[in-house]
């Protein structure tokens, strides 16, 4: 469950979502963003700039879905993803997940909702959010397709990993001051059947129009990208490479560790076999066998931490960089469109035509300013989040490794102890 404050400390918590809610409902109009831009609360970029104070403890707990966590008082919506179920129809087999929502927010009719959603539905939600908030950073979804050689599509591991990622996806949205108030989000959480809602929204043709404009804009390119966005772009490039490397390294470590664990396990029965043919040595050899077996099991557990916690997190941040690049692109497109429009002004002969263009330019200018501010604020928020996430997961990994070595240490120390008490006199090799 996402913990930590959903909204920042500057503005009153109670009123803001309601205001938003009122405006969100006007989404279907093309100038919805204009509505936003006229809202003083949002023009103030600072509303996004305050850091999200998430305590390390709560960050750690984020990955322990089974445990109870501390919850700050301000959190008023709780979302869980669990209970995957397989569905078989004539055409296909697919998995649905239960999405459970508990909330005290007034825009929700009830305080508890339970719906079933499949991956496609999550994709829909993401698409809608990105459409509505092109320069906000939406947490990535787990991948649509399975990487070759990793896991089977319906294996328990795969479903479990995907479930966790989907849970995180929804919780990040629930935590986001703007996104959590999205109407689409509400629909996703509450509607029995998503089918009808999916068909609404900007028409097919207008969507095509958007795409064409976007492509045209990106082809044109921006004339001058503001410094700060260049910096972000550069960072994202480099960060992407690092995350990809870390992902690969971690996968390799998991592989080696698994094989090591296996081989370790092979040693134990050999010692047992040996103990069967000895007299004096029977006891220490049997003990040796059991020690190796215990170490083997500890080793297996240690790998779980890597594959269930560290690797998925690193992988998420690899996916994040794609999201970030897309966000930057969309911001660029908004700027490019404005620049294009500005150019057309030069060719306008009549006052009337120029006026129309100027009005449009104004709107687009506002839109760009709002988009830039939203991105900047969300970028800061994302960075803080990233830092907390990675710090926490690396911390936890180091902790688990210490635990693993401590357990093995205990195993071998107990071996020594038992041999020491058996020894009569003489052997002084035991002081280590």
């Amino acid at each position: 469950m996402m913990s930590g404050t959903v909204t920042d400390n500057n503005t009153p918590t109670a009123t803001k979502p309601e205001d938003l809610a009122g405006q969100v409902l006007d989404l279907d109009e093309d100038d919805d963003l204009e509505v936003f831009s006229k809202d003083a609360t949002f023009m103030d970029g600072s509303s996004f700039n305050s850091p999200m104070p998430t305590s390390p403890g709560s960050m750690v707990n984020q990955y322990k879905f089974e445990e109870e966590e501390e919850v700050p008082d301000t959190k008023d919506i709780f979302v869980t993803v669990d209970k995957p179920e397989s569905h078989v129809t004539a055409i296909e087999t697919f998995i649905t997940y239960r999405v459970l929502t508990k909330t005290s927010r007034s825009e929700f009719d009830s305080s508890e909702y339970e719906v079933r959603r499949r991956y496609q539905d999550f994709l829909w939600l993401k698409g809608k959010l990105e459409e509505t908030h092109p320069t906000l950073i939406v947490h990535p979804l787990p991948e649509k397709f399975v990487m070759k050689g990793m896991m089977e599509r319906f294996s328990d591991d795969f479903v479990e990993t995907r479930k966790r990622a989907l849970h995180k996806f929804l919780n990040r949205i629930a935590d986001h001051p703007v996104l959590s108030c999205s109407e689409d989000f509400k629909i996703f959480l509450t509607a029995e059947e998503l089918g009808t809602h999916k068909k609404q929204g900007p028409g097919f043709l207008s969507r095509i129009g958007d795409t064409v404009r976007a492509v045209a804009a990106s082809v044109r390119g921006v004339r001058t990208r503001p410094e700060e966005f260049i910096a972000i772009q550069d960072y994202v490039e480099a960060f992407s490479q690092k995350m990809t490397s870390l992902d690969k390294v971690t996968q390799r470590i998991i592989k080696e560790q698994k094989e090591y664990s296996e081989e370790l396990g092979e040693g134990s029965p050999v010692y047992t076999k040996w103990s069967d043919i000895e007299d004096e040595l029977m006891v220490p050899l049997k003990l040796m066998a059991s020690c190796l077996d215990r170490c083997h099991r500890e080793s297996e557990e240690q790998v779980l931490q890597l594959s269930n916690s560290l690797l998925p997190t690193l992988h998420e941040y690899v996916l994040c960089t794609d999201t970030l690049k897309a966000v930057l692109r969309r911001r660029d497109n908004i700027q490019a469109e404005l620049e294009a429009k500005t150019e057309t002004l030069a060719g306008k002969k009549t006052e009337a035509e120029a006026e129309v263009i100027k009005e449009e330019i104004d709107k687009m200018d506002d839109r760009l300013e709002w988009a830039n501010n939203a991105l900047k604020a969300d970028w800061n928020r994302w960075q803080e989040r990233m830092r907390a996430d990675l710090r926490s997961v690396f911390n936890r990994t180091a902790e688990k490794n210490v635990e693993y070595y401590e357990k093995c240490l205990a195993v071998w120390e107990s071996f020594l102890l038992s041999q020491k008490t058996e020894d009569s006199e003489g052997d002084n090799i035991l002081d280590s």
């Binding site: 390390p56 960072y235 480099a238 960060f239 690092k242 490397s245 870390l246 390294v249 390799r252 470590i253 080696e256 560790q257 094989e259 090591y260 081989e263 370790l264 092979e266 040693g267 050999v270 010692y271 076999k273 040996w274 043919i277 000895e278 007299d279 004096e280 040595l281 220490p284 050899l285 040796m288 020690c291 170490c295 830092r387 990675l390 710090r391 690396f394 911390n395 180091a398 902790e399 490794n401 210490v402 693993y404 070595y405 401590e406 093995c408 240490l409 071998w412 120390e413 071996f415 020594l416 041999q419 003489g426 052997d427 090799i429 035991l430 280590s432």
Partner: protein, 435 residues
């Protein structure tokens, strides 16, 4: 095995002031601890190894390694060694000749093994090349261990050829060949033959042989598993070095996280580097196991020798019985068993009384000789059984002691490895929390 034998370690051997019961006591202790040896006041070590090139027996240029054997007389009263040792160089093949001499001359002794001729059960990082310095170093230790084992053996340590091997630079080979040991060696075929055809071997030896086979199998398996485990462990540690590299690069693009990442990266590098020492120590454990793997061969050799002795006794006894039977037949004229001679004499007529008389006389002599032979062989067999079993008991105790110690030092190594791991990851954790 000599867990304590470091590169320059020497064992003090020899204390001639001991009474027989004290000597007997010494046999029961590890040779390093009480220096339970019977070689008179001599410190032995294999101090160095060197590469040489020279022409071999067929005049082909070859490169080989020689080992420096150092000996130092120990002053019996003060138990202090003379400062300057005597030394000579020997190659591995000379050790082999010496060991073969021991095998032939003391067939009832479980003769200590030499370190392996070629590197086996290696994990990938270790070279299987005989010229590799690590291999040479481990071989040097193994050769020293061999000499110390011989020097502390109640029987072997008194051998003159041994003393010669240690101290006589020139002409040792001639001396050892002069003993004619090569001729005395039992042929492989003979021994094998005996194994299959012996009727009443001592049960204990049969069991011991079986034990030797099982021990060999189990230790071989262990060594194979160990090599694979070492390979994997090496992989795990080394890949962490990549974390070090990436963290370092990543820290360059971060502001607040930079320091934490950078220092965490250093710890990852340290972690990756630590595996080399860990595995080198573990190699020692493998060497201890290997020594006993090779010991099983010596054990089996003793059991085979018993079978051979027993077989020859049985053959002699059988021969005697058949001769006695022949005498009986000749004397009474009855043919109890089929023989070609009997048939031909039946076909072509009986012998004359004179011929029979001569035959009987020959037989009588043969029977007398035969009885002597059986007596001798029985005595030999009994003597062999007594001596061999004594040495087997000694070996058994030594093996239990040594292997137990090996297991303990393995546990100690594991503990050390765990402690290092705990330290590194605690350090890393601190760095991560500063991110």
């Amino acid at each position: 095995m000599m867990a304590d034998t470091g590169s320059e370690d020497v064992a003090v051997i020899g204390n001639t002031d001991q009474t027989p019961s004290e000597l007997q006591n010494n046999i029961k202790n590890t040779m390093v601890e009480k220096g339970g040896t019977l070689l008179k006041g001599l410190e032995i070590s294999v101090a160095e190894a060197e590469k040489r090139t020279g022409k071999n027996a067929v005049s082909i240029q070859e490169t080989y390694t020689v080992y420096l054997i150092e000996t130092r007389a120990v002053d019996n009263v003060s138990e202090v060694a003379n400062p300057t040792p005597d030394s000579l160089w020997r190659r591995y093949s000379e050790f082999e000749i010496f060991r073969n001499y021991l095998l032939v001359t003391y067939p009832f002794v479980v003769v200590p093994p030499l370190p392996e001729k070629r590197a086996e059960f290696v994990w990938h990082k270790l070279s299987a090349d005989n010229m590799d310095p690590d291999f040479v170093e481990r071989r040097r230790v193994g050769l020293e261990n061999f000499l110390l084992r011989v020097a502390s053996h109640p029987v072997l340590s008194n051998d003159k050829i041994f003393y010669s091997f240690l101290t006589q630079e020139q002409g040792w080979k001639e001396v050892v060949f002069e003993t004619g040991f090569q001729a005395k060696a039992d042929s492989r075929l003979k021994a094998l033959n005996a194994t299959f055809r012996v009727k009443n071997p001592d049960k204990r030896f049969a069991e011991m042989k079986h034990y030797g086979d099982e021990l060999q199998s189990v230790i071989s398996q262990l060594l194979r598993v160990r090599a694979r485990v070492a390979d994997r462990l090496y992989g795990v540690y080394k890949v962490h070095g990549n974390y070090g590299r990436v963290f370092s690069e990543w820290s360059a693009i971060e502001k607040e996280m930079g320091d934490g990442l950078q220092s965490a990266g250093h710890h990852m590098d340290a972690y990756a580097a630590s595996i080399d020492d860990i595995l080198e120590e573990e190699e020692h454990y493998a060497d201890q196991l290997k020594e006993y793997l090779f010991y099983t061969e010596a054990l089996r050799a003793v059991c085979r020798k018993h079978e051979l002795c027993q077989f020859e006794l049985e053959m002699a006894a059988q021969d005697l019985i058949s001769k006695k039977q022949q005498r009986e037949e000749l004397a009474t004229g009855t043919v109890r068993t089929f023989s070609l001679k009997g048939m031909t004499s039946k076909l072509f007529g009986q012998e004359t009384p004179e011929q029979r008389e001569t035959k009987l006389k020959t037989l009588e002599t043969q029977i007398e000789e035969g009885e002597e032979m059986v007596k001798e062989r029985t005595a030999e067999c009994d003597e062999f059984v007594k001596n061999a079993w004594e040495d087997i008991e000694r070996f058994r105790e030594q093996k239990d002691r040594d292997l137990k110690e090996a297991l303990i030092s393995y546990a100690i190594m594991q503990i050390s490895m765990c402690k290092k791991g705990i330290q590194v990851w605690n350090n890393a954790k601190e760095c991560f929390s500063k991110m």
